[in-house]
Structure formats: structure tokens, C-alpha cells
């Protein structure tokens, strides 16, 4: 058996130096796993969307082609990608420990995200005003839930950015703050990824 080596006089049995673990890596990996589980939430929602977007689920209400506006959706795509780009550039400024650059990138990212959310709210609000709210049909229930779940993630991200702005100002770039900034970067990039999927599947496929 390969594992049965013999112990010699200089076999090392204890390793006092082994205690140092890279805490930032553990945290980003942990957060990455959380995002995978979040991705499965969206998987569940996409599967549900596939099931509930047939003509049988419209209950006489509007279907995908009447609900989505692909031009507006494209502006939203640009906005959210811009927001992610801005946050990512902030993390490049982090390399140099440039507090102002990081804060600026985050603030711009927040601005783009707010515009994105404005579009989304306008969309959903318009549907509701026309009597096509989430209680109109199973299809609309699903559409609203999918968009709102993504929107809630965005709002959560905005809140997180606000907290990080304060923490950067107060603590500077400690290990805690840096780990959080890295996690937030992944979280934010993930929102753009999910939106690309929503745009391709719900908007573009729906508009056909």
C-alpha cells in the first residue's frame, strides 16, 4: 500500500507553523459557494419560467411578446454592465490602495445600478398600471418574480456598497474590508451574469 511509509528518526509528527490559513481566500471561496447556491435559486426560477411561459399559462393575459421591451432591456443591459465595469475598475484602484479611486468607482457603480433599477421599476409599474400585475396570470406571476428577485439582489448590493464606502473611510484597507470588497465584486459581477441570462431568455426569446 502506497500510503504505508515507514517512520524514520527525522519524521516530523507535529507542524506548529501550519496554523496560518489565508483568511481572504477562505472568505472569497465561501462567498463563491454561496453564489453557486444563489445561482441554483435562479436555476429554479428559470426552470419555473420555462414551465409557466406557455400559452396555457397566460389565462387570456399578455404573453412574453407583449410584456418585454427589448430596446429598454438592452439599455438596462448596458447600464448593469457599466455598473459592473465601474466596480471592477474600482478594484483595480484597490491594487494601489487608492481610497479615492475605489470610492469613486463604487459611487459610479451605484449610479448606474440606480438607473437600471429605475428602468425595471418603470417597466413593472407600467404593467401593473395596465392591469397586468403579478396576480393577472401564472405567466405574469413568474415574470414579476424573476425580475423582482434579480432587483432585490441589486438593492441588497447597493446597501452593501453603502456600508463599504463607510468602512473604507473608517478602517482603510484592512483584511476584513478587502475580503468584503472582493466578495462584493463577485456578487456584483454575478448580477450582470444573471441579467444577461434573463435578457437572452426572457426578453430576446420572448420577443420572437
Amino acid at each position: 500500500m502506497a500510503t504505508m511509509t515507514k517512520a524514520g528518526p527525522d519524521t516530523r509528527l507535529w507542524n506548529p507553523e501550519a496554523d496560518e490559513h489565508d483568511s481572504i481566500s477562505a472568505r472569497t471561496f465561501g462567498f463563491w459557494l454561496y453564489m453557486l447556491s444563489d445561482a441554483l435559486i435562479f436555476t429554479g426560477l428559470f426552470a419555473s419560467y420555462a414551465v409557466l411561459s406557455t400559452p396555457m399559462n397566460l389565462a387570456g393575459g399578455p404573453g412574453p411578446a407583449q410584456v418585454v421591451n427589448i430596446t429598454e432591456g438592452f439599455w438596462q443591459t448596458l447600464l448593469i454592465l457599466g455598473s459592473v465595469l465601474s466596480y471592477s475598475l474600482a478594484s483595480v484602484a484597490l491594487k494601489a490602495g487608492n481610497k479615492g479611486g475605489v470610492a469613486l468607482g463604487i459611487v459610479v457603480a451605484m449610479g448606474f445600478a440606480a438607473a437600471f433599477l429605475g428602468f425595471g421599476l418603470h417597466d413593472l409599474g407600467g404593467l401593473m398600471a395596465a392591469g397586468n400585475g403579478p396576480d393577472r396570470s401564472a405567466y405574469l406571476s413568474m415574470f414579476f418574480t424573476l425580475i423582482a428577485t434579480h432587483g432585490l439582489h441589486m438593492i441588497f448590493g447597493l446597501l452593501w456598497m453603502l456600508v463599504m464606502l463607510v468602512q473604507i473611510a473608517r478602517f482603510g484597507f484592512t483584511a476584513d474590508v478587502v475580503a468584503r470588497l472582493l466578495n462584493l465584486r463577485m456578487f456584483w459581477q454575478f448580477q450582470a451574469t444573471v441579467w444577461v441570462l434573463i435578457y437572452a431568455y426572457v426578453y430576446l426569446m420572448g420577443a420572437y
Partner: protein, 687 residues
């Protein structure tokens, strides 16, 4: 966006009124008196011995993985008892309510439980046993053992670990509260649709079930993240992937399932919640809803969940059997491969839970074939265990007995499962108690794994073994009970008894029902022996050695017994798959580290337990539609988390001298010992 509620609603108390307290039901009054007595005894004892500060400082606020594990298991055992009592009630109802001439008591036409109450009992039984008994116990075992087996100080995220525990407790607490305030779901543990929808279930029962599951499953997801990161990032030097003990492998695969499957349950329940609270139409009968979608989502989670529970039990067998056979595990690589094969295939078999609900033949064929495939890796495992025992030096202790029993149960449950995977047979016996007996064999195999693990690892945590004589009595009563309850149940299922019946129409079933009731009696006996085992062991407390069974093979047996709160005084260097067996073979099992170095430890914190309390309040508010309570609790959780993120949480340092003192007097470092107050890092530096 408006849902029609039946009954009164007020802004202050939501739907809660005095009528929600079931003070007219004698069964629930009895239950309340029982629960209140136990609670009074526990609280009274704590107060009488002035242990409240100890309890708060050392347990409620702890971030130590072993204490968290112990609390997980304690909660699981309490819930196991509750689920067991539900089982007793169901069996007793069926034996009393067989045939048109059976008498009725306490206002029921037959038996003693009216249909609505009976429906709640079986819904609670399933939910509690799977989610609030077995899941926490297995999470607790993973918490205690995984860091020890890989030579880590603690979990990767000790604080998150405590949050997971208290979220699970919050869910369990909601299930318990449903006994005395309002009622529980009557739509089965799976949530039958559209029965669980608001028009057909206007009360709070479904809401209790839904929010309890939802909150507990967040805890499970966090715990899964924690264990995966711990195993990937925190292994001791020298512990490569193929030196990982098999229990740790199974915990890794189980928690991968937990991480990926539970979100789908979250979606299924959230969509149901939207239907019940916001008036959407996901699973409703009208307006385009499709309740099959719920069943699909539920079982996308539900089937991997079965393996989520099963795999750790396999891990336990794989630890216990080599230890008591004094041989390395046969076929380590195939065992690991089989573990992941089961987890992987388990992801594409879920539709076998609804073969009869209108799927097309080609879909059924796919899911049936995938289901049968699971038998292959499971068979590999069973043979590996048998070959491990073959020509081993067997010591038949109670953990070993439980593990062998687990294999037998796995065989019975697995073979009946193979029968059910054939659609033709499934069409014949679906929804009969044959299916119930089948999956109970599987969960009994899990229970066997659990009891095996509890007896096996108990001395590691507490420093003394469980009493073997009472353990044997417990074992035999449990086994005889299992045979008497579930063998007749297979027969009843084939005879045509369907599930979830509060009234049975065929008097010819009576003999088998009586046999089941006798079996329940043996189960009752086994509970008494279990308690006696705890009592006798706690009274005698015969100290155990570090390697308590003297034939342990893995890292956890290299620590002291009881294990100190810092686990290993110095992190071991790993040379072999069975490190302790390797050291023993080289005459090194007594080797001690020659010097100690300071250890950085995380500080205790009260935040997790407060988050748990607030989560329970949040759920309670949603259940009774007390919006202000939910809003305030949610806001408070967010504020608390943000405030905590502004603390530095730098932990404290155990000095080499302190460690040396504790190593020489190990009781002072055990999980039950009270620790002196140690200053956090920054305050030490400030002095």
C-alpha cells in the same frame, strides 16, 4: 395583489386571537402540561445551580464547532422524540380506527383523532423527522468530527457556524410553537398542491410549515458552505485528498448536495409563499397556474435530500467498521467514487416520485433507468463494508452492531427501492404503505448510522463512554420494534392500504396493525433504555482514553479525551490515510509535541443567538401576518449584521504556557469546563 383572508385581522396582532390557543383539546392540553413540566425542570435546574451565566457564556454564545455540534444533536434528539410521539399517535389511531365498527373517542368518528388533527400529525411527523431531527443531528456530527478528522482548529467560519445552528433552532421552535398556538400544516410534509394553497387551506398551518422549513434551510445552506470550505481549505499539512477519512468525504459530498439542492426548495416554497401572501398564481388551480411545477421543484430538492441524509450514515459505517475490524477500509478509492456517483446520479432521478402523475413514457423510462443506476454504487459500498469485515479481528460493540444493522436495513430498503423504480410496480403500489415501509427502512438505516456515530464518538467529546449494557438493551428494543412495525407494513401495502389514512376500511388488516402497535411499544421501550443509558453513563463517568476504543484509525482519536476546545495543541503532520493506525504501527501513538506555540482563537459572540431569536420572530410575524413584527425583526437582523461588520472581531490568543497547563490537566479544557475570561487581541495590546 390582494388575498382574501378568512377570520379577523388586526394591525397589532395580525390573525392571532385567543381562539388560536387549543385549550379545548385534551390531547394538546396533555402535551402542553408535559412540555411545560420538562421546561420547568430544565429552567429550574439551571437557575437552582446558578448556571445561567455559564450557559450563556459557554454555550449560547459559543463559536466552538464541538459545542455547536452538541447543541445541533441535542435539538435533533428533542425533535426526534417529538416526531416519534407523532408516529405513536398515527399507529394508535390506525389500530383503533380499523373497520366500520371501530369505536370513536374524544369526538372522532373512529379512533381518537379527527381527520384534520390526524393530517397535521402525519405532516408534522414527516417534516420533523427529516428536517428537524435527522438533518440537525447529521449537521452536528459533521460539525464535531470533520475539523477533528482533518486536523483543523475549528470550522472555516466559526461565527457563521453559530448562525446556522440558531437558524435551524428558530425553524424547530416555530414547529414546536405550532402545537400550542394555531395549528400545523395538514398538507403532508411534501406540501400537497393545490391543497396547500390559501383557498383550500385558509389557516396558518401551511404557513408554519413553510416558514419553518424556509428558515431552517437557510441555516443548512450556510452550514454546507462552512463544511465545504473547511474541508477544502483547512486540512492539516500532509493530508492530501486521498488521505481524507471517508466520513469527511461523505460530509463533503453531502454538503455539496446541501449547497445546491436546498436553493431549489427555497424557490418552491417562495413561490408557494407568493401565492399565499401576494395573490400570485404559480400553483393555483386557475389563471394558468400549474401545481405540477411545485411537485417538480420540490422533488428536485427532495430526492438529493434523501442522499443528503443517507451519505453521512455511509460515512459513519465506513469509520466504525474498520475500527472494530482492525483493518483498513476495503476499497477506499471505490468508496469515495461511489459516494460521489450516488450524489451525482441522485440529481437526475427526482421524477420517480411522481411516475403516476402524467409523465410521458419516455420521461418515465429515463428517470426509472437513472434510479436503478443508483443501485450500482450503493452495492459497491455494501460489498466494501463486507470485505472490510471479512477476516478482520471483529469486536462487536454497540456502534458496530448499529453499523451492521444499518447495512441490513440498507439492503431491505434498497431492494424494495429497486422494485419501486420499475414503473410497472410503482403504478401498482404507489401511495401505499409499501412505499412508506420502503423509505422508513432507508431512514432507519440513517438512524442506525446516527446511533452508531453517537455511541462511537461520544467519549471523544465528553471523556467517558456510554453504558454498554443499556446501549445493548436500547439496540435490541429498537431493532425488534423496527421489525414489528415495518415488516407488517410491507404486507399491508401490498394488501392495498394507502398512505395517510385516519380510517382504515378493512377489518382483516387488524392482526398486522396490532403487530405494528406492539412494535411501537418496543420503540417506546427503546426510548426508555436510551434515557437510562444516558443516565447511567452520566452517573458513572468512567474515564476513556484518547483513543477511546483502542483501535481508532483516524486523526480525531489522536486528540485528548475529552477533546480540548482548541482541538490539537499543535497541528499534526499527516503521513498516512489512517494516521493513527500508521503511528501505532510505527510505535508513535503516544508521541507528544515537544513544544507549544500560541494559538489564535475566535471570541464568543451573542450575535448568532440573537439573530436566531429575531428569525423566529420574523417567521412568527409572517405566519400570523403581524407585519410590524416581521418588519422590525428583519430590520433588526440587518442592522445587527451591519453593526457586527464594524467590529474588528480579532479573537484572542492562547499562550503556550496556558496550553501546556491545560494539556497536563485536560479536564480544564474540555467542552463542559468553564473557561476564564480571555481578553481580545486589541485589549491585550492596549494593556
Amino acid at each position: 395583489m390582494h388575498v382574501d383572508l378568512q377570520g379577523p385581522w388586526s394591525p397589532l396582532l395580525g390573525r392571532l386571537t385567543l381562539g388560536a390557543i387549543p385549550y379545548t383539546n385534551p390531547i394538546l392540553i396533555g402535551t402542553f402540561i408535559f412540555a411545560a413540566t420538562i421546561a420547568l425542570i430544565v429552567v429550574g435546574t439551571v437557575l437552582y445551580f446558578r448556571k445561567l451565566p455559564y450557559l450563556w457564556r459557554e454555550w449560547l454564545t459559543t463559536v466552538d464547532h464541538k459545542k455547536i455540534g452538541v447543541m445541533y444533536i441535542l435539538v435533533g434528539l428533542v425533535m426526534l422524540f417529538r416526531g416519534f410521539i407523532d408516529g405513536v399517535m398515527m399507529r394508535t389511531q390506525q389500530v383503533l380506527a380499523d373497520g366500520p365498527h371501530s369505536a370513536g373517542y374524544l369526538g372522532a368518528a373512529h379512533g381518537y383523532l379527527p381527520p384534520y388533527h390526524f393530517d397535521q400529525v402525519y405532516s408534522a411527523h414527516g417534516t420533523i423527522m427529516l428536517i428537524f431531527a435527522v438533518t440537525p443531528i447529521l449537521a452536528g456530527l459533521g460539525n464535531i468530527i470533520v475539523p477533528l478528522q482533518i486536523g483543523a482548529r475549528d470550522m472555516a467560519f466559526p461565527y457563521l457556524n453559530a448562525v446556522s445552528l440558531w437558524l435551524t433552532v428558530a425553524g424547530a421552535a416555530l414547529v414546536m410553537v405550532s402545537l400550542f398556538v394555531g395549528d400545523f400544516s395538514n398538507a403532508a410534509w411534501v406540501g400537497l398542491m393545490p391543497l396547500a394553497e390559501l383557498p383550500y387551506n385558509p389557516g396558518v398551518g401551511v404557513d408554519y410549515w413553510m416558514w419553518a422549513l424556509q428558515i431552517a434551510s437557510i441555516g443548512t445552506t450556510f452550514n454546507a458552505i462552512n463544511i465545504i470550505v473547511t474541508i477544502v481549505k483547512m486540512r492539516a499539512p500532509g493530508m492530501g485528498w486521498f488521505r481524507l477519512p471517508v466520513f469527511t468525504w461523505t460530509m463533503l459530498s453531502t454538503n455539496i448536495i446541501g449547497l445546491t439542492a436546498f436553493p431549489v426548495l427555497t424557490v418552491a416554497l417562495a413561490l408557494l409563499g407568493a401565492d399565499r401572501y401576494l395573490g400570485t398564481h404559480f400553483f393555483t388551480a386557475g389563471l394558468g397556474g400549474n401545481f405540477m411545477l411545485y411537485i417538480d421543484l420540490f422533488w428536485i430538492w427532495g430526492h438529493p435530500e434523501v442522499y443528503f441524509l443517507m451519505l453521512p450514515a455511509f460515512g459513519v459505517f465506513s469509520e466504525v467498521i474498520p475500527t472494530f475490524s482492525e483493518k483498513p477500509l476495503f476499497g477506499y478509492i471505490t468508496m469515495v467514487a461511489a459516494t460521489f456517483a450516488i450524489a451525482g446520479i441522485g440529481w437526475s432521478v427526482w421524477a420517480h416520485h411522481f411516475f403516476t402523475m402524467g409523465l410521458a413514457p419516455n420521461s418515465i423510462a429515463f428517470f426509472s433507468a437513472a434510479t436503478m443506476l443508483v443501485g450500482i454504487p450503493t452495492g459497491v459500498k455494501a460489498f466494501n463494508w463486507l470485505f472490510t469485515m471479512y477476516r478482520g479481528r471483529l469486536t462487536i460493540t454497540t456502534p458496530m452492531l448499529w453499523s451492521i444493522t444499518g447495512i441490513v436495513l440498507l439492503l431491505v430498503g434498497g431492494l424494495t427501492g429497486m422494485m419501486l423504480s420499475a414503473p410497472a410496480i410503482d403504478y401498482t403500489v404507489h401511495n401505499s404503505v409499501f412505499v412508506v415501509a420502503h423509505f422508513h427502512c432507508m431512514v432507519l438505516a440513517i438512524s442506525a448510522g446516527i446511533f452508531s456515530a453517537v455511541v462511537y464518538w461520544w467519549p471523544k467529546v465528553f471523556g467517558f463512554k456510554l453504558d454498554e449494557r443499556n446501549g445493548l438493551a436500547f439496540y435490541w428494543a429498537f431493532v425488534i420494534g423496527s421489525v414489528l412495525v415495518f415488516v407488517p407494513m410491507f404486507g399491508l401495502g401490498l394488501a392495498g392500504e394507502t398512505r395517510r389514512l385516519d380510517y382504515l376500511y378493512d377489518p382483516q388488516w387488524m392482526p398486522l396493525l396490532i403487530a405494528e402497535e406492539v412494535g411501537i411499544g418496543f420503540y417506546f421501550l427503546s426510548v426508555l433504555f436510551f434515557l437510562r443509558m444516558l443516565y447511567v453513563s452520566l452517573r458513572d463517568r468512567v474515564p476513556a482514553k484518547g483513543d477511546a476504543w483502542e483501535t481508532g484509525r483516524t486523526l480525531e482519536w489522536m486528540t485528548h479525551t475529552p477533546v480540548p476546545f482548541y482541538n490539537f495543541a499543535v497541528t499534526p503532520q499527516v503521513h498516512s490515510r489512517d494516521e493513527l493506525a500508521w503511528r501505532r504501527a510505527n510505535g508513535l501513538e503516544e508521541a507528544k509535541p515537544d513544544r507549544y506555540v500560541p494559538i489564535h482563537m475566535p471570541s464568543n459572540t451573542g450575535v448568532p443567538v440573537i439573530i436566531g431569536l429575531l428569525a423566529a420572530a420574523f417567521g412568527f410575524g409572517l405566519i400570523w401576518r403581524i407585519w410590524w413584527l416581521s418588519g422590525v425583526s428583519l430590520l433588526a437582523i440587518m442592522v445587527l449584521v451591519i453593526i457586527r461588520s464594524f467590529n474588528k472581531n480579532e479573537g484572542y490568543i492562547l499562550t503556550a504556557a496556558e496550553i501546556e497547563a491545560m494539556e497536563n490537566k485536560i479536564e480544564t479544557a474540555s467542552v463542559i469546563a468553564e473557561q476564564p475570561k480571555r481578553l481580545p487581541l486589541s485589549e491585550v495590546e492596549a494593556h
